[in-house]
Amino acid sequence: MEFFSPTDLLGSSPILALGLFSLIALLVNAFLKNSAGMVFYVSAVGIFVAIGCSIYTFPMNATAFSDMLLVGGYASFFSVLFLVIALFSMFIAKPYLEREQYHYGEYYVLILLATIGMVMLASSADLITAFLGIEMMSVSFYVLAGYFRGKLSSNESALKYFLLGAFATGFLLYGIALIYGTTGTTNLLRIVTMYPQPFNDPLHIIGWGLILIGFGFKVAAVPFHMWVPDVYEGAPTPVTAFMSTGGKAAAFSVFLMTFSVPMSMRDERLMTVLAVLAAASMLLGNWFGLSQTNLKRMLAYSSIAHAGYMIIGIASATPMGQQGIAFYLVSYALTNLGAFGIIAMMEKENGGNLNYEDYAGLGKRKPALAALLAMFMFSLTGIPPFAGFIGKYYLFASAVQSHMTWLAIFGVITSLFSTYYYLRIIVYMYFKEATNHEEIKLPGLTFATVILCGAGIVLFGIVPSLIFDLMKSIF
């Protein structure tokens, strides 16, 4: 009997490389004293190797391990995105953790383990691998959220995240069980070929509904969003940066892949449910964002709203919507990493310096930093020429294409809401006098990462074809 072929190993090489390097990093951490810096380098090398493997497999477009994993194309595109996010978040984390006296090697090992989960999510062609990927990612995130184990806010955020995350997993799993029961397989590629027959079974529909609840939690869509603000606020800032970009992107990659199966039926009811989910997320996310004073909390609500924008792409179920999501994820990841990088640099011990007032007069004190933060806020609002605009344009256009013009109009209106709180920070930075004159230190590594993110959103905003050309071969 043939159990596996060389294609399987090659196809799963990004996962294998990450796994190998995470084990090496763990051993280095265990056997060498004061090895956090060393673990950082080992992990970074591991991520670079995995990026190489992903790029190498990009043209393959195959499946591995009897259709359990996707190889190349879709999987590679998203894997590279997650790996870059992981790398950038490590760059943000290193100076931050050193400053907070919490610089241990375990942090990077956990980042690598979470990234394995994400890569697995993007490559999953089977509900089993999707489940394993989501758990691998989430369990690492629970630990990372509680990484400042002496700080009560970090403990609290970890416990809330853990309880609600595990709760959502239960629903996801029940959905998987029902789908398996009604089709006899957990493989997405095989379920598609059975359609439309299982679609008449109410249990099958309930199964997709339960899976939707599970994914709704992971992507932070209303009404499954209540954990987001607390967890984002309480977790260490670099962890929030990683969760809000990598975690969201990974959840969306599997959401998109999995729901392309039932959406292939173009069922009115399902489309309406998703559209309502999108509308509720956009409305409530932006609405609560208006009243926030803490920047991390504001970005948490903004993250809920952005989940809403991206669900439009799933609801519309057109290639344009799917490409829109992929592009939006890239731009959102770069923007949020940059914004959180700046927040991490500005933050003082014990969660100080996180409010709007603390950014007053930043335009004079640190012009470069203020300009970058302003750019990120413009991109989040969706103002050209930044990447956020192109992403939003594609998503709204896909809604119109699928005869859901109301959703597109709703999206534009809620975006107008959001300008208030995004641009408020710019008003503070440029038009208010500084109250706080403490010296702001800009660690080189973090600052360079933030500049890279800024360059990325300008580049992809002006030349979006760089990404859209890649996507023509994927979708």
């Binding site: 489940f131 394993l132 403990n155 309880l163 595990a166």
Partner: protein
């Protein structure tokens, strides 16, 4: 192999418990778990309720696997059990570290962050 053949025999005699009974029991247990999560305030008990939800799903999976004559369900149950163990370890560790700092595991008293 012999057990399997006997089981086929009992299916012919129609004394097997029908699939629906398993599914109803599983749905009932799952609902108990959800109710526990929503109603109880002790973090450990909430966590136990979540475990109950996962195990209810396991029951469904095993029943489906048996009735479809397919091993995927059983295999998934293995993974679920292992994942549940990992979650238990991480969850208990988080609860302990919270308890060390705050001396409580009541989730209503977690109020540093606005809930």
């Amino acid at each position: 192999m012999r057990a399997r053949r006997e089981c086929l025999a009992c299916r012919e005699k129609k004394v097997m418990i029908p699939l629906n009974h398993y599914l109803l029991l599983s749905a009932f247990l799952f609902s108990c778990g959800v109710l526990g999560v929503v109603v109880r305030r002790n973090a450990i008990i909430v966590f136990m309720s979540i475990e109950l939800m996962l195990n209810a799903v396991n029951l469904s999976l095993v029943a489906f696997g048996q009735f479809l004559g397919d091993a995927t369900g059983q295999m998934l149950v293995f993974f679920v059990m292992v994942v549940a163990a990992a979650e238990a370890a991480v969850g208990l560790a988080i609860i302990i570290s919270l308890f060390r700092n705050k001396q409580t595991v009541n989730i209503d008293e977690l109020n540093i962050l606005k809930w």
